[in-house]
C-alpha cells in the first residue's frame, strides 16, 4: 500500500489535504464558539466538530498518514462522548481539542514527513480526559486496529479482548463513517458492520448491525441536508470572471451600435433586450462566486484574541459584527496579515491592564470589535478597541523626534492628522515590535499592504476611550453603473450610487455658481454646496474658455461618506454599466480615481472616486468655510466686508478682501523654485510667481524657515501671482471699513482695526503694478483706479461706493445718466458702473452715447441692474455694455469690473 502511496497523484493528495484543512478550520471555529458559550447550540456544534474530526480521520487513513489519523481518531472518540453527553464540555477538553487542531495543522503541512512527528502531547491530553479507559497502549492499538479495518476491508484484524465499549463505539461509528464521511474510501458498509469478534458475539453483532443501519439512515439524511458543494479550480472562476467582463463590454457595444436603428429592428429589439437581461444576470451570478463572506476572514480572531489576552494577562473579549458583508476572495487572503497586526496592536497597545482600566473607571474587561460593512462598491472593515486611545501629543512628539515632521508641522496638524502619523514610514521602531505584534512589521507596512490592494487605512481615536482603525477596500472587478461625463475633453465616469443630482448651470440666479470668497458654491434648495474644480485639482490643461466662470456646463451633486459637494463638468453623456478595472499600479498617481473602464465605443474612461476627490479637494475644509461664510452672506445692504487675514509669521498682519481672493492653498516650501531673483511655484500646470511679504513690505522675514507656506492667489490680476503667508489664514470682518491712513501707499489700501490688531490691507493691483508696471499706457495705474458709478438709489449708491473704495478704487457717484455723461467727458475714468433705470438719461441711452463717442468708446462699462430677464440682458449687452450684473451680487460685481478692465488692457496693449 505504501508503494501505491508514493505513486499517488499529487493532485489527489493536495485535494485531500485541502479538504482536511477546511474541516480543521470548521473544527476550530465551532470549538471556539463552544468555548465562549458552552450551552448555546451545544449539541449541534459538537456534532459538527465530530464530523470534522471524523472526516479528517478518514482522509488521513486513505492517505496513509497514520499519525494524523491516529490523533484525529482519538479526538473523535472524545468528541463522540461529548456529543452523546457522556462527558461534559470542560476547559480541559477544549484545550486538549485545540492542542489537537494545532498539531493536526502542523501534520497536514508536513505531509508524509509528519509521520515521524511526536504527537504524544495532544494525544496524552486527550487520553487523560478519556480516563477510565484501558491504559493508553491498549486503547491505541484497538483504535488503530479498528481504523485499519475500515480503511482496508480485506484486512482481518486480530481482535482481542478490547473492552466492549470501545468495540461498540467502533461499530456504531463505523457505519455512519461510511455514509456521512464522503471521503472515507473503500469500506463498504457490510464489511465494517461486521464485527471483528468471534462467532460467539454474533447475536450482539446482529443487534449492533440494526443499530448501525439506523444510524446509517440518520446520517445519510444529515449528509444530504448539509450544503451541496462542489470544488472548482479558482483559476477557472477567474477566467469566467474575465470573460463575463468582456461579454458585458460587447453587449454594451452591441446595444450602442444598434440603438440608432431601433425602429428598423422591430422584433429584434425584444430579443436584444432579453440578451441584455440575461447577460446582466449571468454577470451577477459569476460575480457572486468571487465574493466570500467577511466572516471567513474574521474566523481566526476569536482564538487569537483569547490567546493573546491570556499571554498579556488582560481580560479581553472579541465581538464580531459582519452584517453579512462580502469581499472578493483574493482580498480575504491578503487582508489576513494586516488585520492580524491591527488586532494584535489593539490588544498590545490599546487595551490596558485590568487594574489600569478599573482605575480609569472603565470595566476591567476590554472589548475589541471587528466590524465589516459593504458600502457602494467598497468594504469597510473596522477594528475598534475601547482602550487607551492614541495620544496625538505623544505621537506628534515622537514624529518630531524621528524627523518625520517638524515642530511647525505639529502645530498646524489636527489631532486626527497627528494620530495617523503612526502609519508614516519610520515611525515604529524595532523596539516596539514584540513577538506579539508580528514579524517585525510596523503600521507603515500595514498601510502599504492595504494600498497595494487599492484600499486605505486610517485611524481615529479618543484618548482614554479607544481607537478605531478603518480599512476601506474596493470590491475588485465590480461592475458599476456610472454616468459618463466630460471635462476639458477628458472622459470620466461617476458611479451612479454617489450621484444625487445633475444640475445644469444657467444664468438663472437659482442655478448660478456664486463666488463666496475663494470658493465657488452652488445654491441648492437653500444649501450652499461647495464646488470642486477637477480641472484645477488634477492639473488639466485648460481647453478654451473657463466654462465654469462662464456659467456653463453642469454640476454633479455628489454624495460620498459624510461629504456632499458638486463637481463641475462640461458635458454629460449616458449612463452605462461598466466593468471597473483597477487602476494599473503605475497609473495610481492620485486618489481621485478608483479605476478605469472601457466604454461601449472602446474609449477609456477614468472612474471617479468621490471620497478620494473629497479628500484631495479638502472638501471638509471647504464645507466648513462655506458654513463660516454663510452667516452674513448676500445681504445686499450689509456693508460689512470680509478680509482674509494672514501674516509672515510675525506680529504684523496683512489682509486682502475676500472677494479678491481666488485660491488659498497650503504648499510645501520645497515646491518653490527660484529663478534668478524671482520665485515660482507650479499650480495646475501654470507657473505662479510667489511674492514674499518681507520683500514687498517693511516686515521681518519669517522667524524660522517654515516647511509649508500658505499661498494666497488673488483673482483677476493680469499676472499669475500669489502671496506667501506663514501659518493659517483667518477670515475677519472689517465692520468699520478701511481707514485710509498714513499707512496707505501704492501697495497698501489702508488699515483695518480688528480687535486689538491692525491689519494692513494690501492693494493687490497696486502691488502688481509696482512690480510689473509697464511704463507708458499703464502709468496712470500707479494711482488708484477711478470708477464712475451711475445710480439713482441712495442706498445702492453708498453701498457700491463703500465697496469699490474698499478694494482700492477712487469713486465718484452720480444719480442719473445725464450727469454721468457730463462727468465722463469732464474727467478720465477707468471704468463705468451704471444702473439701467435712471431718470433723465437711462443706462441704455448712456452707453449708446459712449460707444458713439470718439474719446469714450473704449471705456469698460458694466451694467448693474435688477432687470433679470433674458431679453433685458440681451438688450443691455447689445447696447454696448461689456458685462451685466444683478444688483444683489456684489461679489460678482467686483469680479466683472476687474475682468472687463483687464480685457480692455489686453485689447489696448
Amino acid at each position: 500500500m505504501s508503494d501505491d502511496a508514493d505513486l499517488m497523484d499529487k493532485e489527489i493528495f493536495d485535494e485531500f489535504v485541502a479538504e482536511c484543512r477546511e474541516n480543521l478550520a470548521e473544527w476550530e471555529d465551532e470549538l471556539m464558539q463552544l468555548a465562549d458559550a458552552p450551552d448555546d447550540d451545544h449539541a449541534e456544534r459538537l456534532h459538527k466538530i465530530f464530523r470534522a474530526a471524523h472526516s479528517i480521520k478518514g482522509a488521513a487513513g486513505f492517505l496513509e498518514l497514520k499519525n494524523t489519523q491516529h490523533l484525529a481518531h482519538t479526538a473523535e472518540n472524545l468528541l463522540a462522548k461529548m456529543r452523546d453527553g457522556e462527558m461534559a464540555v470542560t476547559q480541559q477538553s477544549i484545550d486538549a481539542l485545540l492542542k489537537s487542531t494545532d498539531m493536526l495543522a502542523e501534520l497536514l503541512d508536513l505531509g508524509f514527513d509528519g509521520e515521524s512527528k511526536d504527537v504524544s502531547e495532544p494525544l496524552g491530553m486527550l487520553n487523560a480526559i478519556l480516563n477510565g479507559e484501558p491504559p493508553p497502549a491498549a486503547t491505541d492499538e484497538s483504535a488503530s486496529a479498528a481504523a485499519e479495518a475500515e480503511a482496508s476491508p480485506g484486512h482481518e484484524a486480530a481482535h482481542d479482548d478490547a473492552s466492549a465499549d470501545v468495540e461498540a463505539s467502533t461499530v456504531d461509528e463505523a457505519a455512519p463513517a461510511v455514509e456521512a464521511g464522503a471521503d472515507d474510501v473503500g469500506a463498504p458498509p457490510t464489511k465494517t458492520a461486521e464485527p471483528k469478534k468471534d462467532a460467539a458475539k454474533k447475536d450482539d453483532a446482529k443487534k449492533d448491525e440494526t443499530k448501525a443501519d439506523d444510524a446509517k439512515k440518520d446520517n445519510k439524511r444529515r449528509a444530504e441536508s448539509a450544503d451541496e458543494t462542489v470544488r472548482v479550480r479558482t483559476q477557472l472562476l477567474d477566467e469566467m470572471m474575465e470573460k463575463i467582463g468582456e461579454l458585458v463590454i460587447s453587449r454594451n457595444q452591441l446595444l450602442r451600435r444598434l440603438a440608432p436603428h431601433a425602429a428598423e429592428l422591430g422584433d429584434v429589439n425584444s430579443t436584444l433586450h432579453q440578451l441584455s437581461m440575461i447577460t446582466s444576470e449571468v454577470q451577477e451570478l459569476i460575480m457572486s462566486t468571487r465574493l466570500q463572506p467577511v466572516s471567513l476572514l474574521f474566523r481566526r480572531f476569536p482564538r487569537l484574541v483569547r490567546e493573546i489576552a491570556r499571554k498579556l494577562g488582560k481580560d479581553v473579549v472579541l465581538e464580531v459584527d459582519d452584517a453579512g458583508a462580502e469581499l472578493d476572495r483574493t482580498l480575504i487572503e491578503a487582508l489576513a496579515d494586516p488585520l492580524t497586526h491591527l488586532v494584535r496592536n489593539s490588544m498590545d497597545h490599546g487595551i490596558e491592564q485590568p487594574e489600569v482600566r478599573e482605575a480609569a473607571g472603565k470595566s476591567s474587561r476590554g472589548t475589541v470589535t471587528l466590524r465589516a460593512v459593504n458600502e457602494s462598491g467598497m468594504v469597510n472593515i473596522e477594528v475598534i478597541d475601547d482602550g487607551a486611545g492614541l495620544d496625538p501629543v505623544k505621537i506628534g512628539a515622537k514624529g518630531v523626534e524621528k524627523g518625520i515632521i517638524s515642530e511647525d508641522d505639529m502645530a498646524s496638524m489636527s489631532d486626527k492628522e497627528l494620530a495617523n502619523l503612526i502609519f508614516a514610514p519610520g515611525f515604529s521602531t524595532a523596539a516596539a515590535v514584540t513577538d506579539l505584534s508580528g514579524r517585525g512589521v510596523g503600521m507603515d507596512v500595514v498601510r502599504t499592504n492595504i494600498s497595494n490592494l487599492g484600499g486605505t487605512v486610517e485611524v481615529s481615536s479618543v484618548v482614554g476611550a479607544g481607537s478605531t482603525f478603518t480599512l476601506k477596500l474596493p470590491l475588485t472587478l465590480a461592475i458599476v453603473t456610472s454616468l459618463i461625463v466630460e471635462l476639458n475633453g477628458r472622459l470620466m465616469a461617476l458611479p451612479q450610487v454617489n450621484l444625487e443630482e445633475v444640475l445644469r448651470l444657467s444664468e438663472d440666479k437659482d442655478l448660478r455658481v456664486e463666488n463666496v470668497g475663494a470658493l465657488q458654491v452652488l445654491r441648492v434648495r437653500g444649501h450652499l454646496v461647495p464646488i470642486v474644480r477637477l480641472d484645477h485639482l488634477l492639473g488639466f490643461a485648460p481647453v478654451g474658455e473657463d466654462t465654469l466662470q462662464r456659467g456653463e456646463g453642469y454640476v454633479l451633486l455628489v454624495q460620498a461618506g459624510d461629504f456632499r459637494y458638486g463637481i463641475h463638468v462640461d458635458t454629460i453623456h449616458d449612463s452605462e454599466e461598466m466593468v471597473v478595472k483597477p487602476m494599473p499600479k503605475l497609473a495610481q498617481a492620485t486618489k481621485c480615481f478608483s479605476g478605469t473602464s472601457i466604454l461601449g465605443d472602446g474609449r477609456i474612461a477614468l472612474i471617479l472616486d468621490p471620497l478620494g476627490v473629497a479628500e484631495d479637494a479638502a472638501v471638509a475644509q471647504l464645507e466648513s468655510q462655506v458654513d463660516e461664510l454663510l452667516d452674513d452672506e448676500d445681504d445686499p445692504f450689509d456693508l460689512e466686508m470680509k478680509l482674509v487675514k494672514f501674516s509672515n509669521g510675525g506680529d504684523e498682519h496683512f489682509g486682502v478682501p475676500m472677494s479678491l481672493v481666488g485660491r488659498i492653498e497650503k504648499i510645501p516650501a520645497t515646491a518653490i523654485h527660484p529663478m534668478g531673483k524671482r520665485e515660482f511655484v507650479e499650480r495646475s500646470g501654470r507657473a505662479v510667481e510667489v511674492l514674499r511679504l518681507d520683500n514687498l513690505f517693511n516686515v521681518d522675514p519669517p522667524p524660522a524657515t517654515p516647511s509649508h507656506y500658505t499661498l494666497i492667489v488673488p483673482k483677476s490680476t493680469q499676472r499669475s501671482i500669489g502671496f506667501l503667508a506663514v501659518g493659517m489664514c483667518d477670515v475677519v470682518s472689517a465692520s468699520e471699513g478701511i481707514e485710509r491712513s498714513s499707512l496707505a501707499s501704492d501697495t497698501v489700501v489702508g488699515t483695518v482695526l480688528e480687535g486689538e490688531e491692525l491689519i494692513a490691507v494690501i492693494d493687490i493691483f497696486g502691488v502688481e503694478n509696482k512690480l510689473f508696471g509697464d511704463a507708458g499706457d499703464h502709468a496712470n495705474e500707479r494711482q488708484a483706479r477711478r470708477v464712475l458709478i451711475a445710480e439713482d438709489s441712495p442706498a445702492f449708491q453708498e453701498m457700491q461706493r463703500s465697496y469699490f473704495e474698499s478694494v482700492g478704487f477712487e469713486v465718484d457717484v452720480v444719480e442719473d445718466g445725464e450727469l454721468a455723461w457730463e462727468a465722463l467727458r469732464a474727467q478720465p475714468y477707468d471704468v463705468l458702473v451704471s444702473d439701467i433705470c435712471m431718470p433723465n438719461v437711462d443706462g441704455i441711452e448712456l452707453i449708446r452715447r459712449i460707444r458713439q463717442d470718439e474719446a469714450l468708446r473704449g471705456l469698460p462699462a458694466v451694467a448693474v441692474t435688477t432687470l433679470r430677464s433674458d431679453s433685458d440682458r440681451d438688450r443691455i449687452l447689445d447696447a454696448g455694455f461689456n458685462a451685466y450684473e444683478l444688483k444683489v451680487d456684489r461679489h460678482r460685481l467686483i469680479d466683472s469690473v476687474n475682468q472687463v478692465m483687464s480685457r480692455q488692457h489686453e485689447e489696448a496693449a
Binding site: 497595494n452 497609473a587 480615481f593 472601457i598
Partner: protein, 161 residues
C-alpha cells in the same frame, strides 16, 4: 537568457529587450492621459479590452519624449513569464503584481539572434548608476556593426524616478 531580442529604435539608438519578455508589438494608439502621473507615463491604452499602462521609454531614459513614437511593445506580465528558474537574476518588472505594461518606442525593428559571447551584462546594481541613461541599461549586445543596449525592465518601473 535567450539570445533572441526584439530590437527597437529609441532616441536614435538601438535598443533591445529579451524576446521572452515581449508579448506583442503594435502601433502606438492614442493614450488616455493620467492626471498627476509622472511625465514618463505615456498613459493608458485599450488592448482588446484590457487597460494597459504604457511607459514613455524615451522620457524615462532620456528625460524627454520622442517627437513621433510609433510603436508600443507590450511586455508579458509576471504571471505569463516562464518559470523563475528561467535564469539567474532574471530581469523582470518589480512591484507590479500581475499587470501588463507597455513601453512606447520610436519604432520596432527585427528580432535579432545574438551569440552568447556577444552579450555583455553590466555588473553592479542599478543604484550605482547615477546617469539616467546607464541606469536603464542592463547590458549590451553586438549586432552586426551596431551596439544594442538592453533595457533593464526592473528599473523601468522602479519608483525611485
Amino acid at each position: 537568457m535567450s539570445q533572441r531580442f526584439v530590437s527597437f529604435h529609441l532616441g536614435g539608438e538601438l535598443w533591445g529587450v529579451d524576446i521572452l519578455q515581449v508579448r506583442e508589438t503594435l502601433e502606438a494608439p492614442e493614450f488616455v492621459e493620467i492626471p498627476k502621473a509622472p511625465k514618463h507615463i505615456a498613459g493608458l491604452m485599450n488592448l482588446r479590452g484590457q487597460v494597459v499602462c504604457v511607459v514613455d521609454l524615451s522620457n524615462r531614459v532620456y528625460g524627454r519624449s520622442s517627437k513621433q513614437p510609433q510603436n508600443v511593445l507590450i511586455l508579458k506580465s509576471n504571471g505569463e513569464l516562464p518559470d523563475p528558474a528561467m535564469c539567474e537574476g532574471a530581469d523582470r518588472l518589480e512591484n507590479i503584481g500581475d499587470e501588463s505594461v507597455g513601453i512606447l518606442v520610436d519604432s520596432v525593428s527585427d528580432v535579432v539572434q545574438v551569440d552568447e559571447h556577444d552579450v555583455e551584462l553590466t555588473s553592479g546594481s542599478a543604484a550605482e548608476h547615477s546617469d539616467a541613461e546607464t541606469r536603464f541599461v542592463r547590458g549590451v549586445a553586438q549586432v552586426d556593426d551596431n551596439l544594442m543596449m538592453l533595457v533593464s525592465l526592473s528599473e523601468l518601473v522602479n519608483a525611485a524616478a
